[in-house]
Subunit: 299 residues, 2 copies
């Protein structure tokens, strides 16, 4: 295959036979290939959920440090099979895919109990004691940006607050007009350009580690905001389960590059300045959501 | 429908019955509803191409001011039916969909003549005399950003250069390692978070005005860089034609909000500060690619 980025795959192939050289500016594929075992972590199955769709599995890591009440409620709902047989309700191009109970708010709504029906807004939290790997390139939306505990974040030293950022693949809890009207039963995932204006306007609850393609390729809804107009257009959810409650043989064995590792710092630099042969200009800058957090199958 | 952004559709409905009030901060839907007829333009059919896929039509406006050689070559190729029966070769999640001749570079390649096989790189151009509507919110990748002639752009006052920016829906010409190795026969469209690191590394040739969903929902390829591994996974292109060569009754009648209009300036502000009831914080900042250029059916 020629054209756009074909040179990247050649570069990757070539690297496999090269001795890593500390004098060479880092290339992404090389950084990942050379990352030591302890730069990778296995997500905790007790804070990971599997959204199983007919086409495949979407693996979501819950951000328990940022949205503890939502993560707990989602865990309770998943434990009780709340979403099994419910459906994808909305797919808005370049924005979000959303799932939950089409009858929410009506007499036919599936009961949430023993999960809670209403939760406090978890738009941000104290930055005190929260790990933070800074990105030095600046940001349009937040005084500071970087990563904390495996998630992209914004931070404000003036207010001492930190919050999750709406990058591609982030998962949040839909709400009505009131800030405290979400409960985690209706969830959305970002499938387009980062809608960072949603940061601190809604509670983010986690991030898709694997399987984004099963959400991003869903037919777009023709109704307002991408909602499906006819019930038969909705895709039924097979299961949404806690990974810890799925038999071990059926789990998705993934590893995530630690955002507080030296390898991740090299990864940022490799994304900031592209030294692959294909690039004419190495660029010199990188934006938060253009530094995806690497995930790989467990070796 | 409750939850995420349901309030927006209510706000839109409510606005239709409200008298516009200059004292009220602008809301996006209201700006568009109130834009005068002369704030909208009809794209020139001679610089618009239709990529017709089995599911629907993708309408692409060519950026003749930024990539004149590529736009001319693409017009020649379209005129000669070059892409008809060729296929979508690649769909990489959160990145690009790419189409062209799977046999390019081989003896089986479809001939390009009378189109040219090699073109100069058109990564940027002189900013002199080129219209520019500035976005004052800053940018991570370029000294200045804004819009020119209906396209998102970066600009550098020091060098006097201006260039197209890789926002969602932008279309570019794949190339090999050499800067001047593209010819417009293999094209890609951005289907994910803006890969701005490609700016000035490759020639952008236009923007999708309508039908992004037909590209963005394509199954992702399982090969390296999202290429389809088996020929039967490729989707055949029905036609790629110049709009001016399609019978008038079969054309897509669209209008684009002029990026040099007062309405577009209001639109930027409406995207920067969200005054819809749903938003808790109006935000105060907006990034280039989070200001989509509005397109509507011709009234």
């Amino acid at each position: 295959m020629n054209r756009l980025h074909a040179a990247v795959s050649l570069a990757v192939a070539a690297l496999l036979s090269l001795h890593a050289n500390a004098q060479t500016p880092p290339i992404g594929a090389e950084v990942l290939a050379n990352a030591p075992a302890d730069a990778w972590r296995s997500p905790d199955p007790a804070r990971t959920v599997y959204l199983d769709l007919p086409a495949g599995r979407v693996v979501i890591e819950l951000a328990s440090d940022f949205a503890p009440a939502h993560a707990a409620n989602i865990s309770t709902l998943a434990h009780n099979g709340y979403w099994d047989g419910l459906s994808i309700l909305r797919a808005q191009d370049n924005y979000v895919v959303q799932w939950g109970d089409a009858n929410a708010g009506t007499a036919q709504a599936r009961p949430l109990a023993p999960a809670r029906g209403k939760l406090p807004a978890e738009f941000d939290r104290s930055a005190a004691g929260q790990p933070f790997t800074a990105l030095s390139d600046g940001d349009i939306y937040a005084p500071q940006v970087g990563w904390s505990d495996g998630f992209p974040v914004g931070r404000d030293p003036a207010s001492g607050r930190i919050w999750l950022a709406h990058c591609y693949g982030m998962v949040g809890a839909g709400r009505d007009a009131a800030a405290d009207s979400s409960n985690g039963a209706e969830l959305y995932a970002v499938i387009g350009h980062a809608p960072r204006h949603l940061d601190r306007n809604i509670t983010l609850v986690g991030r898709v580690l694997d399987g984004m393609q099963w959400l991003a390729t869903l037919p777009r809804g023709s109704g307002a905001l991408g909602f499906y107009e006819r019930p038969e257009q909705r895709l039924a959810i097979t299961h949404l389960r806690l990974a810890s409650e799925v038999p071990e043989a059926e789990r998705s064995a993934l590893q995530v590059l630690r955002t507080d590792s030296a390898s991740f710092t090299q990864w940022i630099e490799a994304r900031r300045n592209r030294h692959e042969d294909w690039f004419i200009s190495p660029v010199g800058h990188v934006e938060l959501c253009n530094v995806p957090i690497p995930v790989r199958p467990q070796p």
